[in-house]
Amino acid sequence: MSTPELNHPYRILAWPLLVAPMAFVVVFAIIPTAVLASRVESLDVVGDVIANRSIRQALWFSLWQSVLSAVVCLTVALPVTWVISRFDFPGRRLVRSLVTVPFLLPTVVVGVAFLAALPNSLDYSPVAVISAHAYFNVAVVVRIVGSRWESISMSLVPAAQTLGASPIRASLTITFAILSRTLLTATGLVALFSFTSFGVVRMLGGPSLSTIETEIYSRAVLIGDLDGAIVLAILQVIFLVILGMMLQRGASGAPRRTERLELRRKPLASHPMRVIIGGIIAVTTSGIIAPWWATLSRSRGGWGFIRKSEFRDALVVSLRTALTCAIVATVLGTCSALAASYGGKYHRGTAKLIGLPLTISAVVIGFGFLITFDEGALDFRSSWFITPLAHALIAMPLATIVVSQGARAIPRDVSAAAMTLGVARRRAWMTVDAPLLSKSVTSAAALSIAVSLGEFGASSFLSRRDSTTLPVLIAQELSRPGDLRTAHAYVVASLFIIVAVVVILGIEFGQGRSR
């Protein structure tokens, strides 16, 4: 029998807190998607689009490259995940930080970095696209699988061995059996990210390789085939919502925590083990750093670009967009997270709906904005705030997740304890809950800024001459003829890499000092 749910002292605020985030999602996610769907005049159009050879090729390439990207990523990431989660060695946190950086880089920067790092013969090939996807997503496997692996007691495999299982059999029947669901979730997420990849495919796919995302873009912006782009966008939304629900079901089978949470990792005792682990670390870190190095090398001669107005304008636009996005996404995400935390199951269900934009790709969001906010009173296409709002829609579900984790960590009765001391409800919230929430709200804002600075899919649709963001500037410079223009693109990509490395190392080691 389940324990009856106790009322939260702030339960009364749950519905009011949901109003603004719900309205935001309805206006900027549901209505644009509905507008896109309403433009499909008949099912014949859908049939025509699907019958189109280049669209079928894009669909097929999206599918097989995403599956292969996931498999390659898992193969590359599992050895280093094992090392990071099971062993203690000097520099462990540095290695973990380094493998996290690619995921924080804008996809367009990863694409550019691979363009720089791979030999010319591999440019615009499936190998380039799949390698970049695997590279970008190593952090997904390391973080998701690694945190589960760390929680598996060190003594389970020896326990199995005392019962007669060989080391390999014990690893397969115990470690990998326990990890199987997490491995599946991580593989699914990598496949999903690779399926919806836009920046990498635009940079590395060339004219011959196209995914659904790039096909939507080229049909809508370059060819002018709006019907084709809309049908693809709707099919994409349906597919992603179904996949998102499946992944959520997979993740909801949370691991059982029967084993003791034994976070002590093994020291590197034996010499052969040191050699094996040193080899894994050397191969992984050099694989992570090589594209950065290649990007920096290619930027030579182009650094004067950062004094030019083109760059400065894009920098100002990017910063303004990121700050606006962070304010909107953090405020709305915090409201949604608190409503879910303070309310009952209906509030939590509604808050889940607010996470819907997470299953709509950035390209479809940008395309939806372009089509919807283009007429009459809703003609905002030339407004400066249209791009930050699209970014906020992408960042808000992530901000909600981050603040939810912080809100869940606050004991339910801590503010009630303050009230029993004679403090009014509002004051109790301000003096107890707010300080406890501040760290996660700050993290949500920082994450929103990072999302916005690197966002490329929606920005490709919404950027205009006077509102070019830095990732769009990279693509523009790269598409223009001349070595100097190419060097400019590498300069901007290098700046992203440097900032990402500094920020992630600062966070990782800053946290260490504050502990």
Binding site: S155, A160, T162, T173, R256, E259
Partner: protein
């Protein structure tokens, strides 16, 4: 099966715990190792099981040197302090795991074992739904079902309330005596050692630089 430890030296995270530790456990004997926290009792069990390597010394089973033998070929079972039940398997899956690894899986033997430990009908239960005492019994059954030549018990009753501790101590004692298994039991509770074992071995720290020896006490029958 006679278990012999000859001149064992052990260390933990670079710190030497003891040198020249020797001990013989006769067939069917239940020996309790007692000693202060950090004296290396659990490390000694892990060395016997093959989970840790000794810095020096040898482990013999019926005169055969098993020091270099991998864990799964020793035939030595171990009940861990925190049970280490496999979280992805149910109770029957846990108990039958060793039989399955040795290709001898027999549902009837699992049922018999469930009855022996007083948990009939618990086979389909998930291990995270078990109480502390039930989990201990399942861990014991999982080790006993493969008929180990030697059974190692690492503080098997730690963390239980007094009533459950005493009841389980009595049950374990009965089960072990009936199985006639050679047992090495580690505890810091002298009362538990006295109740369970036929001999108590005290690990004594001689000085802070870690040299140590063992002293043997025979409790009155």
């Amino acid at each position: 099966m006679t278990l012999q430890l000859l001149d064992i030296a052990a260390q933990y995270e670079g710190r030497v715990l003891y040198r020249n530790l020797s001990l013989t456990v006769e067939t069917g004997e239940i020996v309790s190792l007692v000693g202060p926290s950090g004296s290396g009792k659990s490390t000694l069990l892990r060395i016997i099981a093959g989970i840790e390597e000794p810095v020096d010394g040898r482990v013999l089973l019926d005169g055969r040197d098993i020091t270099e033998l991998p864990i799964h070929r020793r035939g030595i079972g171990m009940v861990f302090q925190d049970n280490q039940l496999f979280p992805h398997l149910n109770v029957a899956g846990n108990i039958g795991y060793g039989l399955r690894m040795n290709r001898q899986l027999s549902p009837s033997r699992v049922q018999e074992m469930l009855e022996l430990i007083g948990l009939p009908g618990f086979g389909v239960r998930q291990v995270d739904t078990l109480s502390g005492g039930e989990a201990k019994r399942v861990a014991l059954a999982r080790s006993l079902i493969v008929n180990p030549q030697v059974l190692l018990l690492d503080e098997p009753l730690t963390g239980l309330d007094t009533e459950l501790h005493d009841r389980l101590l009595e049950d374990i004692s009965k089960i072990l005596r009936a199985s006639k298994t050679t047992v090495v039991h580690v505890t810091h509770d002298l009362r538990e050692a006295t109740a369970l074992s036929s001999r108590i071995v005290q690990i004594t720290m001689l000085d802070s630089r870690t040299a140590s020896t063992d002293s043997v006490t025979r409790p009155e029958a």
